[in-house]
Symmetry: C2
Subunit: 332 residues, 2 copies
Amino acid sequence: MASPSTLLDVAREAGVSPSTVSRILNGTAKVSDEKRLAVMAAIARTGFAPNQMAQGLKKGRSHTIGIVVQDIASPFFDETLRGVDDGLKDTGYASVIVSGHWDAQEEAERIRLLLARKVDGIILLSGRMADEAVLQFAQQRPIVSTGRALKTGHALGFKLDNEYGAWLAMRHLLELGHRRIAFVSGPEDNVDAAERLQGYRRALEEAGLKADPRLIVQGNFHENSGLLAASHLLDSQQQFTAVFAANDLSAYGVRLCLYRKGIRVPDDVSLVGFDDLPGSAYTTPPLTTIRQPLYEMGRIATHSLLRLINGEQVQAAIPPLELVVRETTRRR
Amino acid sequence: MASPSTLLDVAREAGVSPSTVSRILNGTAKVSDEKRLAVMAAIARTGFAPNQMAQGLKKGRSHTIGIVVQDIASPFFDETLRGVDDGLKDTGYASVIVSGHWDAQEEAERIRLLLARKVDGIILLSGRMADEAVLQFAQQRPIVSTGRALKTGHALGFKLDNEYGAWLAMRHLLELGHRRIAFVSGPEDNVDAAERLQGYRRALEEAGLKADPRLIVQGNFHENSGLLAASHLLDSQQQFTAVFAANDLSAYGVRLCLYRKGIRVPDDVSLVGFDDLPGSAYTTPPLTTIRQPLYEMGRIATHSLLRLINGEQVQAAIPPLELVVRETTRRR
DNA sequence: TCTTTTCATGAAAACGTTTTCATAAGTGCA
DNA sequence: TGCACTTATGAAAACGTTTTCATGAAAAGA
């Protein structure tokens, strides 16, 4: 494994001092054309590329940001990551991605690891960590987080209005004439999930209906829980003409259960999800859902973090949630 | 932003030399219990964590590996990344993930960037780069790649038998009595895609059938191309009782087109995909497909890379492709 | 008891950069 | 021609670790 050439090698090769090479590389001071040419040639000859560890050590900047997701392999985080990736493009920054696995403990642990790696900043996607803990970490490095309302000099949070989103979905269903609408919730300890349930309740209330607890069944945001929930609903003989799932993944599960029981969507039952994952445009039939601006959040979070890192002011707004009507809902 | 404490701070705080602190941290030499305790206490008090840039610079090890995917937000790469993540668990390694966006140029560029970052090794997932280029880079750092047959001291590749996988899928369809089987191919310049087409042809041949070029339509591995392909097939009045899509994503597209035209799956037409993405167990109906051991490849690639990095011998085998029969195929 | 060996520890050099500081050469002005 | 300034460049220190080397004290061998 041939050890790569160093700046010193280049300097020797070009017959100048290391300082000069550095100056040329960083454009930090004027240097004669003669030497510049010699150095350029030497760099080309040796294939030199600056050692980023040394650079980082000296400059106190790693040009790396840390990203904490909760699940590396989830379409939900994927879209946001794509936004982050695009946001980082041509900035000279790279990202190290770690997963908190939806566990506050592990989340904190990962952040500590990132900090030890001297990342210049952190993007935290969702998670279960308390806001205070986030602020604590933010004293070391700037942090921007999704799913929290935060705003200090070093920490910034973007929070979508889950309650409103759920309300949008419900209003759609109600306008189509549905009255008995089942709800497949998310994990109990998840705030997004709680807010969506809240929106479900409010919409019902506003329509002069009252929520039937037998129509609300606990899920966990995964496909399988949607399947189980629908199955439970059907087995317990509840009457309903629509189901609203707290996220797209569980809507997929509901859909499958319905299919298995020979219940047609949307003919017999309407279905709406939440998230608008890329796959939701290609389910059979395509899923009516609430679009979260996942990609945009990734981009915006990244831009904001970069500004924070450079000590600049940030003020960013994210697009609102919106209903996207596809083919799983129908007038009753 | 409070500057974090250094090893020197700890040493001063504990009244010992930096060397001693380092020795305790790394367990690299025996030190008296008295000093050990003092140092531990000082570490706890100061909240010291070693600066990984300094460590990396000194040790010549960044404890970071680079991962090159082609699409950050694809379920295909997701599963493999999950395997990598699990494989890295408790190894002290972190990974920086970059995307080549299916472009050989960009791929090489990303790898150069990773190398400048002094990653200890690279995992390359698919891609369009020539094998020679990979070997070239492998002279600087060990590389393990999926989708290539490679084996040198510093480079290792795992290749799945796409041709066999396609053959498996086709045999299944043929055994069910299907004779006119359409094929939605992948991108022309993708070797995996070419091999799958080859498997399609071979199976037909072995069954004494000859491939009808009108039943083979070009796709690009995305949902939309599946939709288009099926639409084209239908519009051109071809007779067929089954379609084999070169990957699950395009199978989803085919499925949607069929649904729109009122063609039932599997009653009217059978459908099989390739990949077994996580979502494929929850399509309506669940998709019969060829399972790629994506997760396992990630794990194995990671283990192998770590061994390569440590200068150890590697010999690893990956599980074979297998047919998973779900509910989109039926005897004709 | 005296020498030899082992052992714990500190001092200092090193990793590959950037940056401060010093300096010699070049410029302008009288 | 001499003086004060710029200006380009090199020497050396610094970033925060690890590791080699040296050293004094303790343990072992005689």
